[in-house]
C-alpha cells in the first residue's frame, strides 16, 4: 500500500516509454524492504514523499518546491543546490531535498566498483535517486538533507577521490568526449586538457567568479560528440590543418563492397550497393571531392572539416597529422535570450600540455566578460550586444574572413577611422567635382 495515492503520476507509467515514476516507485519499494540493512541517514520514505509532492504539484498545476538556498559545503560556493518543500508537514521526507553535483570522470569512464560505491553512498546518505548525467555532464545526486552535505563531501573527496562539480555563477564542470582513449578521430587528448584545465581553474569551479554560468567543453573532432559547439560558452573542437590522409586501396574496397560504409552502422535494412558519388562526393558541403578513374581526390584547402566523408569511410580516410583545436565562443541554451551556437574565435591553436596558449585566450575572454558582462548575461549574449569585434580586441586576435560565418549576415567586423586612409573626413568640394548632386 503506497504512502500517498498517485493517480496522476500513475498515468505517466501508461505510455510506451520508461517512466521516472516507475523508477522512483522501485526505489521507494527497495528502501521499504531494505534487504541490505542500510542505516538510512535521511527518512526511509523519502521517495514516497517525493511521489506525494509531485502528485500534489500535478493536482495544483504549480510547484511545491522552493528552489535555491544558502546550503553548501565549507569553502565551496557551488556543487550543492538547495531545495525545500513548501509542505514539509505533509511530506517530511522531502522537507529538505538538496541536489549534489559531482564532477564526472573524464570521458565518463567508470568501473562498476566505482558506480557501486557511489550508489551505496547515495542510498546511505541520500534518496538513492540519481541523474546520470546532468546536461552539463555532472553526476547528479538528487535529494538529501542539510546535515548530510558535509558527510557526503567527506566521503566523496576522501574515500572516492572525487570532487563536487560547478553550479551557480561558477565555471561549470568541464566536459569532454572520450577522445584519444578510444577514438581514432581525436585530434587532441581531450581528457588530458579537460583534466588540466579543471585543476588549473579550481577556484573558478568551486567559487562564484563570473556574471553568470560559464561552460567549457572539449570535443576531439568536429563530430562534436559532447555538442560543445551548441552547449558551451567556450568550445574546444579538435581539427587538423593539413590534408585528410587517403588510402586509395581502402576507398576501392568501400566502392567494391568489401568494407561496409559507416563502420557497419545503419545495417538494419538493405540500402542497396554503396554509391560513393551519391553518399560521399555529392554530400560534401564544399564540393571539394571528386572520384574519377578509381581515384579519390580532395581539395583540402576547401575542406571545412565536416567529417562526413571520414565517418562514411573511416578505413579509407583519416584525419590529418598537423593537429590542434579551434576555439568557439558564446553557445548557450535559451534561458534568458534565445539559443545560440558558438562563433569561431581562434581558427587553430596548438594543444600541448601545459596548454599555456589556450589558458591565455581563456583568461582574456574571462577578463573581458567579468568587466563588461551584465548580471546573468552569458558570454554569447554579451558578444551579441557589443559585437564580435569587441571580443577580438579584448583577446588581441586579428579579425579574419574566418570570423565571418556568412557574408552580409553577421556584421561582426567594422572598419575603424584610424584604419582607413584619410579617416572619416573628406573634401566635399573635391568629391563634388566628380559626383554631381
Amino acid at each position: 500500500m503506497p504512502k500517498h495515492e498517485t493517480p496522476l503520476l500513475d498515468e505517466l507509467e501508461s505510455g510506451p516509454w520508461p517512466s521516472f515514476v516507475s523508477d522512483i516507485k522501485a526505489e521507494a519499494a527497495s528502501r521499504a524492504k531494505n534487504e541490505k540493512n542500510v542505516e538510512f541517514q535521511i527518512p526511509v520514505d523519502v521517495c514516497d514523499d517525493l511521489l506525494g509532492v509531485l502528485e500534489l504539484s500535478y493536482k495544483h498545476g504549480r510547484t511545491h518546491w522552493k528552489h535555491g538556498g544558502i546550503v553548501g559545503v565549507f569553502g565551496y560556493g557551488g556543487g550543492v543546490i538547495g531545495r525545500y518543500c513548501d509542505q514539509p508537514g505533509m511530506f517530511p521526507g522531502v522537507a529538505h531535498f538538496h541536489t549534489v553535483r559531482v564532477n564526472q570522470p573524464g570521458g565518463k569512464f567508470y568501473n562498476t566498483a566505482y558506480l557501486k560505491q557511489l550508489c551505496d553512498l547515495w542510498e546511505f546518505r541520500g534518496s538513492g535517486l540519481t541523474n546520470m548525467h546532468g546536461s552539463t555532464g555532472d553526476i547528479i545526486l538528487i535529494g538529501t538533507q542539510t546535515p548530510q552535505l558535509e558527510e557526503i563531501f567527506y566521503d566523496l573527496t576522501h574515500n572516492m577521490n572525487q570532487d563536487l562539480g560547478g553550479s551557480g555563477s561558477n565555471l561549470r564542470t568541464p566536459a569532454d568526449c572520450i577522445g584519444s582513449a578510444r577514438c581514432e578521430y581525436a585530434c587532441y587528448d581531450t581528457q588530458s586538457m579537460c583534466y588540466a584545465l579543471t585543476q588549473e581553474y579550481q577556484d573558478e569551479l568551486h567559487r562564484p567568479a563570473f556574471p553568470y554560468k560559464f561552460k567549457f567543453k572539449f570535443d576531439g573532432c568536429p563530430n562534436c560528440c559532447v555538442a560543445s559547439i551548441a552547449r558551451s560558452d567556450m568550445s574546444f573542437i579538435g581539427l587538423w590543418r593539413d590534408e585528410i590522409r587517403i588510402d586509395q586501396a581502402a576507398v576501392a574496397a568501400y566502392v567494391g563492397g568489401e568494407i561496409q560504409p559507416n563502420g557497419g552502422a545503419h545495417a538494419g535494412r538493405d540500402w542497396g550497393k554503396f554509391d560513393i558519388q551519391k553518399e560521399v562526393i555529392g554530400l560534401c558541403p564544399t564540393e571539394c571531392m571528386r572520384y574519377e578513374g578509381g581515384k579519390l581526390e580532395i581539395d583540402n584547402k576547401e575542406c571545412t572539416h565536416c567529417m562526413h566523408c571520414i565517418n562514411v569511410m573511416p578505413r579509407a580516410l583519416r584525419i590529418g597529422n598537423d593537429r590542434g583545436c579551434a576555439i568557439l565562443v558564446g553557445a548557450k541554451a535559451p534561458i534568458l535570450d534565445g539559443a545560440q551556437m558558438g562563433s569561431l574565435l581562434v581558427p587553430f591553436i596548438s594543444v600541448e600540455d601545459p596548454y599555456d596558449e589556450v589558458k591565455e585566450v581563456i583568461e582574456k575572454v574571462w577578463d573581458y566578460w567579468m568587466e563588461e558582462g551584465k548580471n546573468r548575461e552569458r558570454l554569447g549574449e554579451l558578444i551579441k550586444r557589443q559585437g564580435f569585434q569587441k571580443l577580438l580586441e579584448a583577446t588581441d586576435i586579428e579579425a579574419s574572413p574566418l570570423h565571418v560565418s556568412e557574408p552580409r549576415s553577421n556584421p561582426y567586423i567594422f572598419w575603424k577611422e584610424e584604419e582607413v586612409e584619410g579617416g572619416w573626413e573628406r573634401d566635399v568640394k573635391a568629391y563634388r567635382k566628380d559626383h554631381l548632386r
Binding site: 535555491g68 538556498g69 553548501g72 557551488g78 553550479s167 567568479a209 548580471n375
Partner: protein, 79 residues
C-alpha cells in the same frame, strides 16, 4: 589576501543597502574603487570563508550577502 580596510568597505556598503539582502558579484565591483573584478572576486570569496558573507545559490546564479541577513536562513532552519 584581503585587507581589513577592504573588508570594512564591503560590509559598510552592504549595510547601507535597503530592500535587498543578497547581491550579484558584479554589484561588489563598485564597493572598492580601483580594483579589477578578479581581485574583488577573491576578496568576496575570502570573506565567505571568514564567515562574514554567505552565498545564496539558485543553482544557476549565485548571490552573495552578509551572513545571516535575509529571510531564508530562519525560514529553512539553516541558522
Amino acid at each position: 589576501m584581503a585587507t581589513d580596510e577592504q573588508k570594512k568597505l564591503i560590509v559598510e556598503a552592504l549595510e547601507k543597502k535597503t530592500g535587498k539582502s543578497k547581491f550579484y558579484l558584479k554589484d561588489f565591483y563598485t564597493m572598492i574603487p580601483d580594483l579589477k573584478p578578479r581581485a574583488i572576486k577573491n576578496i568576496v570569496n575570502e570573506m565567505v570563508a571568514d564567515g562574514i558573507l554567505e552565498y545564496w545559490s539558485s543553482g544557476s546564479t549565485t548571490l552573495i550577502g552578509l551572513k545571516g541577513v535575509g529571510k531564508q536562513a530562519g525560514a529553512e532552519h539553516e541558522d
